[in-house]
């Protein structure tokens, strides 16, 4: 029998190792798997390369993971948001590496990584500093830059509903990077708002098929990052 459900966030992230590449879903706080991130802080794995669109806010979630000194490198498109305090300080003092990637290129690199495509060409960033040092080719009279597919050891994502096979449905714009990160990681770990019976999710509306999911943990009432920040909370 296939049952990907595990008992706790701690159990779900227990094998994340030092030096791992970890994709973390979310666009800002929306879609961020905050309980899984906090479990990763408790675990303490270090020297991680983290792939996320941003770099977290306040002193909870992704920002707390960075603040705890567990992240050696960020791969992201926009490391500067409201309440983004931790990353700028570490970056300016040279204590964290940044690979800046245009948002669509980041998404496509993740998608390609998950689809077995090692590299592709895109017009995005041609003629800009972000294309410097990269291979250029011309197709049908237009220049394109080569970008590499991006894979990860782990993905941490959040969904609204799941079944024990790992079929997932998301909530509104919280979907963002989760479906493609689930494809690009060797081990995909999901926190779900609810776990439903097989067959309860109409196959027509499954967004992430269970084949891309390895572990599920139910977090019925996930914390909301901006609320924690408003309350002045820090993790741990």
């Amino acid at each position: 029998m296939i049952n990907k459900s595990v008992g706790s966030p701690a159990e779900a992230v227990a094998d994340i190792f030092d030096g791992a590449t970890v994709m973390i879903g979310g666009f800002g706080e929306v879609g961020s798997p905050i309980e899984l991130i906090h479990a990763l802080i408790d675990l303490g794995a270090r020297n991680l390369t983290v792939v996320n669109n941003n770099t977290g806010s306040g002193h909870v979630g992704l920002a707390a993971l960075i603040e705890n000194g567990q992240v050696g490198k960020m791969i992201c498109s926009y490391p500067r948001t409201t309440n983004s305090l931790v990353f700028p300080e570490l970056y300016r003092s040279g204590r964290i590496e940044l690979e800046l990637v245009p948002q669509g290129t980041l998404a496509e690199r993740i998608r390609a990584g998950g689809a077995g495509i090692p590299a592709f060409f895109t017009a995005t960033s041609v003629g800009t500093p972000l294309a410097e040092g990269k291979e250029l080719r011309s197709f049908e009279g237009r220049d394109y830059v080569m970008e590499y597919g991006l894979k990860a050891d782990f993905a941490l994502i959040k969904c609204e509903r799941a079944d024990r096979h790992g079929n997932l449905v998301y909530h509104k714009t919280a979907r963002n990077f989760a479906p493609i990160m689930a494809m690009a990681a060797r081990t995909t770990i999901v926190q779900t708002g609810s776990l439903v019976e097989l067959g309860d999710i109409d196959p027509e509306v499954v967004i992430t098929p269970g084949i891309f999911v390895n572990r599920l943990v139910t977090v019925c009432d996930p914390a909301q990052e901006s609320k924690l920040i408003a309350e002045g909370r820090c993790y741990p």
Binding site: F27, G28, E29, V30, G31, N53, S77, Y78, P79, R80, T81, T82, F87, P88, Y91, R92, L98, L100, V101, P102, Q103, G104, T105, L106, A107, E108, I110, R111, T122, A123, T124, S125, V126, G127, T128, P129, L130, Y170, H171, K172, T173, A174, R175, N176, F177, A178, P179, I180, I207, Q224, S226
Partner: protein, 224 residues
């Protein structure tokens, strides 16, 4: 001098209103953060325009009424929005396939500098202590057919933003279609910047004095 500049030319809302006149019926449109967001308020009655937000929504509606907010329904500026009937959600790779695959018709963006060949700089001053952040700007200018820029004609310190060549790092090369500034509507043509419309009370010479490149006058027949 500053008060004079405030009196002369279009306000932020008037710039947005002028740009909105050029959004065709039936367009799929992406609006950047800031003044471009205002364009949605002014699209003329009778035109159906579908708004795309790159975090994964087509059919974005206005901000929610009090009590109707959903913190997981946001736009690219991370502000809460609503959906209109016929809307759809999708993941980031699909969202950027809409942009990069040339499916979005019009994008309206802000600018730090625009060059006379259509180069756009709007993501970084290149300052060594700045945290570089690009988001989706490079994808939008590379993939969207028509790029409208809404910007103040000059910086707060009075420097020209329309220039011969950008000094800031580029977002894209030769990508801008048309500029809506507080002083004029300016098209990017093979001959460079062409003024096609002047704000009320603004002369061609006044705009030229505040522009870092040569303008041509294409306003023949329109009232200054």
């Amino acid at each position: 001098m500053i008060t004079e500049k405030k009196r002369l030319g279009w306000s932020r809302d008037e710039m947005a209103k002028r740009a909105a006149l050029d959004i065709p019926d039936g367009s799929y449109v992406n609006l950047g953060i800031g003044i471009p967001e205002l364009v949605a308020l002014y699209v003329p009655e009778g035109r159906e325009v579908i708004y795309h937000t790159e975090n994964g929504l087509l059919g974005m509606g206005p901000p929610p009424a009090a009590g109707e907010e959903d913190p997981e329904l946001i736009n690219a500026g991370k502000k809460m929005v609503t959906v209109v009937p016929g809307a759809s959600y999708f993941h980031h790779a699909d969202s950027f396939a809409m942009i990069r695959g040339q499916h979005i018709d019009v994008c309206v963006l802000g600018a730090m500098q625009v060059a006379e060949n259509g180069d756009l700089a709007n993501w970084s001053t290149g300052a060594s202590d700045a945290i570089p952040a690009v988001g989706g700007a490079m994808d939008l200018v590379a993939g969207v057919k028509t790029i409208f820029v809404i910007t103040q004609h000059c910086t707060n310190t009075g420097e020209a933003k329309l220039v011969e060549a950008c000094s800031y790092p580029l977002t894209g090369k030769a990508v801008v279609t048309r500029i809506y500034s507080d002083l004029a509507v300016i098209d990017l043509t093979p001959g460079g910047f062409q003024v096609t419309e002047l704000a009320p009370g603004v002369s061609f010479e006044y705009v030229q004095e505040r522009t870092g490149a040569k303008l041509t006058d294409g306003t023949a027949g329109t009232a200054a």
